[in-house]
Symmetry: C2
Subunit: 240 residues, 2 copies
Amino acid sequence: MDRYSVTMTNETRPVSRRERLRAQTLQEIEDESFAIIDAEGVQALSIAALARSMAMSAPAVYRYFPSRDALVAHLVTLSYRQLAAAMSQAVEGSRKAPRTRVRLVVTAYRDWALRYRRRYGMLFGERAGDLPSEVTTRTPLDQAMALLVDLLVAVQDSAPAGGASGDRTLDGQLRLWARSQERPDIAPSVARAAILIWTRVHGIVSLELTGVFDHQTLEAQRLIDLEIDNAIRFLGPTGA
Amino acid sequence: MDRYSVTMTNETRPVSRRERLRAQTLQEIEDESFAIIDAEGVQALSIAALARSMAMSAPAVYRYFPSRDALVAHLVTLSYRQLAAAMSQAVEGSRKAPRTRVRLVVTAYRDWALRYRRRYGMLFGERAGDLPSEVTTRTPLDQAMALLVDLLVAVQDSAPAGGASGDRTLDGQLRLWARSQERPDIAPSVARAAILIWTRVHGIVSLELTGVFDHQTLEAQRLIDLEIDNAIRFLGPTGA
DNA sequence: ATCACTCAGTTAATGGTCGTAACTATGCAC
DNA sequence: GTGCATAGTTACGACCATTAACTGAGTGAT
């Protein structure tokens, strides 16, 4: 699945010195890479620059990653995991109302994007050489989506269900999507709300990051709050 | 404003041979650049590769653009203009209902993004060295927004106005935005709908381009239609 | 018609990048 | 200790951006 990830060695196997050093170097590569990316963007992450910052010769990096693209791909999957983790932690153990927790999750998403804007751009923007989107984007983000879906189910339970979309075909596709998530139980209305929240928030955050709102006096958070309201209202009764 | 743009010479000034050749070469640079970008992405656009495809020496390009970044910046503004033009043309002279025309404009946006996906990524994704977002993104896209706003005003005129957002501060910011667009007449509800449509569609299209929906059985166009409905419904009565 | 100037284009060179090849030296298993 | 696997090295080739120095064609004034 992910050839380059650090495999958790829970077994108290006698971790050899070599393995330890290798893991340590790998960690340093990841840390330095993210430092460079956060400071100057992915395009500034070159094998040479990375090696230089580690006081290492450039070819040595190839012992860890077969190419610059492979390194970037690895960093992308790490970032996805990190983003998903940030969203999970935002509601972990929270006893607030489901609707509030939706806001927490979404805000965590935005905060992560703002805090690590270069990484967010790396995930959803650049994709220089069109990375293997397959494995990369699937699992970790699906996990975050599952989280959102659960919250929305809870929201719906606490309010009279309903809300027709008016597009039977779309509902069918949403059912398929639910099945592809191995959650055939979730209703189209919930799936619809989850997807709409994601696309809406991504749209706002993405434009916020490109600076579209900078010159305008719009606060993205207000737009997001409004959009969450809209999406959830969709879940409840039938309309407003 | 834009040092590199071709200035329309409507005056029947005796266009010198030199000027004609220069304009011609500039045109060829733009065309070849877009060809390379469309085929392999911006990251593959190198001065060297461009010059090679024109059977020209690389340093010669510097007679036209002081750096690779300047070239890319120029291509970005051209692309913005092209996108805005595509949106305008989609409804030019259309006698359909305003609501239908909104759909036409938005669909033109998506179609352009799908047809020139690399360029769209260049506009809203990559932005490698954080280009001068100031001049770049302002005028041409504002024009497209103005178009959308006009259509939404028409929509609102044909339906009972109203629709409170519940966020007075946001409404105030929207009023400021309207004034910054030099259109102080547009109501917050209209501005809100315009911005929401833009962010929503951008979010969907952007995720569609990164391939998030590929493995899922969702058609982006259906999501977009749904979102337009939602945004417009917002304009009308008060809720559903 | 020619002279001087401008400027599009050239070759040559610097210093950066990715990536490969060939080598050295260390850790580890026996 | 001997031998293998491997993390690291230096040396290299191919590409890139950009500058410097030069060539030659277009242009405008005499």
